[in-house]
Symmetry: C2
Subunit: 180 residues, 2 copies
């Protein structure tokens, strides 16, 4: 088994007080020492996807692709807008479709709202189509509403933290399986 | 009945040789004289949607919203990427969700590929959620592949042109119904 498990976390919201981003920061905070979670923080700088543009000419995206390829897995938490995946999240995925980024990559999608089932299903569909290994047991729906929309509030909620630790543990188990 | 029917056409692809954009240019070309189709050509300039930003501070989007509100209908033709709506198309819709743009607005979605059923369904779902009046009979699937991916080729195909004219006629019939 590898010493450290590297995960990339991507939030599909640009809102400063995004509960999806807060959820991923909480994942970072509760991760055991052998799991390192790196949050992708440049979503606002991702240009609109144009199939005519070579990803190699967009350093931000070429770098993210390489980081995902090198990582042991990816955590995605994205809001639902108008019964669909947020456009900014899907735009990022569109850039990575024709790359090896998600091929056989273990991916967990966190859903911050039980009502956001359209986006959750659509995200799973796109990731699976991109050959990702979508982790059902790590792709949990939690209810980050009301008083638990900040990282501080999430970290003060033992039930939520336990659920996030359980999702993280799936990646550890996966590494153990690979090592066997 | 109004003298002229104004429609806004939006392509969900930034590819220079996009068959979706070609399809909408063909709609423009075959439209009868009483229908004016205006193509939105600034998709590449639409910033990533951020709910913290007021649409009034983004003149391009505030203007598009007003144009759609004033229009009699909208034609959308969008590609499918990774079994989903193109991110750039969804990003544009995300900006318009909390505006009156699509409320009771007659909208037709053109599908350039019979295989792109995921994006077609997702687009319909989002538009319906945004209170658009989705026109089933004008939302046609045509097969713009191979030799018919340019506007010239589409215009040389009488069957395709007839289908586009039929889709346009739905907007005229709708105006007649409203006028009655």
């Amino acid at each position: 088994m590898k010493q450290t498990i590297h995960l990339i976390a991507i939030s599909g919201s640009l809102r400063a007080a995004s509960c999806n981003t807060a959820l991923l920061r909480a994942v970072q905070a509760v991760a055991p020492s052998q799991i390192k979670v790196t949050l992708f923080e440049q979503l606002a700088q991702v240009p609109p996807f144009n199939p005519d543009i070579d990803i190699e000419t967009v350093p931000l995206l070429a770098q993210l692709r390489d980081q995902i390829v090198a990582a042991d897995g990816v955590f995605i938490a994205s809001p639902e807008y108008a019964h669909g995946v947020s456009g900014v999240m899907k735009n990022l995925l569109d850039w990575l479709v024709s790359t090896p980024a998600f091929v056989n990559k273990p991916v967990a999608t966190l859903n911050a709202s039980p009502r956001a089932h359209h986006a959750f299903a659509a995200l799973k569909e796109s990731l699976t189509m991109m050959s990702a290994l979508w982790l059902e047991t790590a792709s949990i729906t939690v209810s980050v509403i009301g008083e638990t929309t900040t990282i501080e509030a999430i970290l003060c909620n033992p039930r939520l933290c336990a659920e996030l630790r359980k999702a993280l543990a799936v990646f550890t188990e996966l590494q153990l399986e690979v090592a066997v």
